[in-house]
Structures are given as structure tokens and as C-alpha cells.
Amino acid sequence: MSDHKDLLRAPFELGYTYKRSNGPVMSKFFDGLGEHKILATKSSAGKVFAPAAEFDPDTHEALNDLVEVGPGGAIESFSWIEKPQHHHLVKNPFAFALIKLDGADTSMLHMVANCNESDLSIGTRVTASWSSTQDKRITDIQFFTLET
């Protein structure tokens, strides 16, 4: 048997840039981000899903009625990261948060930055901060910041 210290051990990277085709609903959502708009989908029962969901989880209905929500909203929950890990996109202390955008019935997971942990609580108002990029990705919203 080999001793642990003799063990062969080497780093490797599993890296690939995936190509995501967004489909009709999410394409409109990502196009909307380019115009600094956040789109949601509205079910036949009137429930508003933001970001624009393709399917209603409960009725299984395919959703395609798009409505604009936000860009402001209230925090429903958050987790504060004092020391971001290297894979995190924000390098200073920040939060992941569930944000219920104005006009939506469900909340959206994103990041909240440029603030302190003590600034945040459930109900705190935040608003989208737009990224300079337009990659048709969720990162086109850079993060959310405290509403002034």
C-alpha cells in the first residue's frame, strides 16, 4: 500500500464555455436587461413570476405573457458573505438575496453589494445596478444596491 505522502496528486481544470440558447421567453427577458428593464411572466391566474419564468411550478402552465417589474424591490431573505471566495463575482463583502421586485409575486435571487451587513434586513429596499456589459446573461444586472 502506498503511504498518503507518496500519493500522486495534481491539479486539473474542468473548463468549458457553454452556449446557452435562451428560448423565446428568456430571450425577451435578456433583451429587456439590455434596455434596463426587468421582465416577468404573468400566469393566466395573474401570478407574476420575476425573473420571467417559462413555466408555472404549480399549474405547469407554459408562461409567455410578459410584463415589466422592478427595478426596485424588497429583500425577502439574504446571506451576507464577509469573505468572498474566488468564484464569487463580487470581490468585496456582499450578500446573496431573494428580492421581491415591485409588481412581482415571486422573488429573484441576485446579489446585493456596495453596502454593509448592518444596512440589510428583511424588507430593505434595493434596486438593480446595471452592468456595463450586455451579454444577454443574468450578470447584465451587476447586482442590486440600496435604494436611495
Binding site: P57, S79, W80, F96
Partner: protein, 351 residues
């Protein structure tokens, strides 16, 4: 419907880094241990099913490598779920109930040490809206913890005692990875990873494997006078849309409780696949287990082998019933962020 019994369970000692062992070397000892204990070999097994996840160690087809641990000459009836091995047990049970098998071998293996579990598990999320933000598994759990704390469904004191008790209970599990005791001040001084969770609230990075053998009730009597039967089993998933879920409750578990008629049912013991401290008091309350000895093995907080920990909860419940004068046990397995997918297994020892 045909009844199914658990007739054996084995767990590899949980390691922080099993680098010295490849998949085959992890799986073989637990399977051989079970075979030796029951005096059988692979030829006595009608169906074999495993659970694992390629991404944990970054190898496509980890389960194909793992299959080399099993005797496959002659070829075997075999399948694999890319899920916790608790679901491999579920599939195996259906095979027995259908009449296509009388015995089944289930195994799971997982090595979380080769990669960064926090970033890897981000890929469980919606690939368009969520995973590009790389939310780590602790932060996702923390979102649920905060909701539960805010609604006073769980208290900080309960989280502390979940952590302390897990370490006390680890003495019951010779395979536990963590067995040092901590006190309140140590817990309170620990650095927060993602508030409100600190490192003690989170399960340790773990490598290991587990195996189980189940059989039809009839077959089980060939092995034991007091089979431990799966009296009820149910699993359900919830929406992937975290923002549309009520994180202060569990629709899936409530539905399973109703389906299995477990509301107000009295269990003697329970093992829950609660990976984070707050999940234990949350689920104990939800499942009516407040007065039931729960996670006597220490649970995932003292060793959490991904793709096995759910099967381990079932196995540990089985062991509790087998080794003690206990009658009814409840096991819980889960998958996905914020307890998205849950399984309940109601075990009873024949009296």
C-alpha cells in the same frame, strides 16, 4: 403490495480526503463487508443500483469506474441514479415490488475533497438565471436559515444545540469524521461563512461510500427472524424557483407525511439528512419529532458524504432498530438546495 426489508448496511469510515482510494477502492470494502456479514456474494444479488455524481470529482462517468468494484461476470441487472443513493434504494425497492428481483445491492460513493464543493454545487441551480451568479451552497442554505430565524420557527439556541449534540452523538458512529466536542463559546466565536451560518453550522467536506442490501419480506426471513421492513416510503420535489417557494415550510414533506399518514404517528427514533444545523430543529418540528431521539449517529454535521448521506440516514435508522429494542424509525433523505427534494422512509421492526 409486496413488502421490502433492509437486511444489511455498511458505511466506509468517513474521510476528509480519500485521495489514497479511487472509486473502486472506496466501494469494494463496504460491499465485501456486507457480503461477508450475510454469507453471500454478487451471484445472490438480483439487482444492483448505485448513486453518484460525476461533477464532485470532475470525472465524466464516475459510476462506470465504480462498477469495476462489482463482480459483473456473468453480467448483472444494474442501474444508476445521478442522485443520492437513497434514490437508488428507492428504485431497487420498486424492482422487488414488481417481482423482478428478490434481493438488491445498493451503493453510493462520493468524494468532495478533489474540488470546491461550494462552486461545484452552484451548477445545481437554474443555468440561465442563477448558476451564472455562482451562489455557494452555504449561502443558499443561509437564505432559508434567515427566513426560519425571522419567523421564529428556528432559534439560534436550537442551531447551537444541534451542533453540540451532533458532536456528542458522533460517539455512536465509529465512522464519523468529526468527534471533537465544542462548547457554546467556541461556537459563538467561530467565523461566519455566510450569515447567519458559521462553519460549525455546515457539514464537513467528506469522502466515503456506503452500501445496503434489501430483500423481499419472504427472502428477508431466510436471513433474520425480525426483518426491518419499509412500511412506507415517499419522495417529492419542489419548484426550482427558490423565489416562488415558501422557505419557512416544506410542501413536499407535508405532502409525504399526509400520503404516508404520519401526522401524529409516534416514532422511536429518526435520522434526518439535515446538512445544516438549522435544518434539524426545522424538520424535527415539521415532522413531529420534537420528542423523538433524532440523529443519534451525529448526522451529516459529523460526516456528510455527498450521494451517500441520504442512504446513510436510512442505514443508521436501520441500525438503531436492529441494535436496540426499538420498533419504529423514520429516515429522511434530501437533494437540491434548501431541501428541494425530500424522501421519507418509515421503517418497522417485526415484533
Amino acid at each position: 403490495m409486496k413488502k421490502v426489508a433492509i437486511i444489511g448496511y455498511a458505511q466506509h469510515p468517513i474521510l476528509s480526503n480519500a485521495g489514497a482510494l479511487n472509486e473502486v477502492e472506496l466501494i469494494m470494502p463496504v460491499v465485501h463487508h456486507l457480503f461477508d456479514e450475510l454469507g453471500i456474494d454478487q451471484k445472490n444479488i438480483d439487482f444492483t443500483c448505485s448513486g453518484s455524481c460525476d461533477y464532485l470529482q470532475g470525472a465524466a462517468f464516475a459510476f462506470v469506474e465504480g462498477l469495476s468494484a462489482i463482480q459483473t461476470n456473468p453480467p448483472i441487472k444494474e442501474s444508476h441514479v445521478e442522485m443520492d443513493a437513497a434514490w437508488a434504494m428507492y428504485e431497487s425497492m420498486l424492482k422487488i415490488q414488481m417481482g423482478d428481483a428478490d434481493t438488491a445491492l445498493i451503493y453510493g460513493f462520493g468524494k468532495s475533497s478533489p474540488g470546491n464543493l461550494d462552486s461545484i454545487m452552484s451548477l445545481q441551480m437554474d443555468p440561465y438565471y442563477i448558476s451564472p451568479l455562482w451562489p455557494d451552497r452555504v449561502s443558499l442554505a443561509a437564505l432559508q436559515a434567515r427566513v426560519l430565524l425571522d419567523k421564529k420557527i428556528v432559534t439560534k439556541e436550537q442551531m447551537l444545540s444541534a451542533v453540540i449534540e451532533a458532536r456528542v452523538n458522533s460517539k455512536n458512529n465509529k465512522n464519523a469524521l468529526i468527534n471533537d466536542l465544542i462548547d457554546e463559546s467556541t461556537y459563538l466565536e467561530e467565523e461566519i461563512i455566510s450569515s447567519p451560518l458559521n462553519a460549525f453550522d455546515c457539514p464537513p467536506i467528506s469522502d466515503g461510500s456506503s452500501a445496503m442490501i434489501i430483500a423481499s419480506e419472504e427472502k428477508a426471513y431466510e436471513y433474520t427472524d425480525k426483518p426491518i421492513l419499509i412500511e412506507g416510503i415517499d419522495h417529492r420535489i419542489e419548484s426550482s424557483n427558490l423565489g416562488s417557494r415558501d422557505l419557512s415550510s416544506s410542501k413536499s414533506l407535508q405532502a409525504s407525511m399526509d400520503h404516508l399518514q404520519l401526522n401524529n404517528f409516534e416514532f422511536d427514533v429518526a435520522e434526518l439528512h439535515t446538512q445544516f444545523s438549522f435544518e434539524l430543529p426545522f424538520l424535527r418540528s415539521l415532522l413531529g419529532l420534537v420528542d423523538v431521539p433524532t440523529n443519534l449517529s451525529g448526522g451529516p454535521l459529523v460526516g456528510n458524504v455527498m450521494m451517500c448521506a441520504g442512504l446513510d440516514a436510512i442505514g443508521k435508522t436501520y441500525e438503531s432498530l436492529k441494535q436496540n429494542d426499538l420498533h419504529r424509525g423514520l429516515a429522511h433523505a434530501s437533494s437540491g438546495p434548501c431541501l428541494q427534494h425530500n424522501m421519507l422512509v418509515h421503517l418497522e421492526k417485526e415484533q
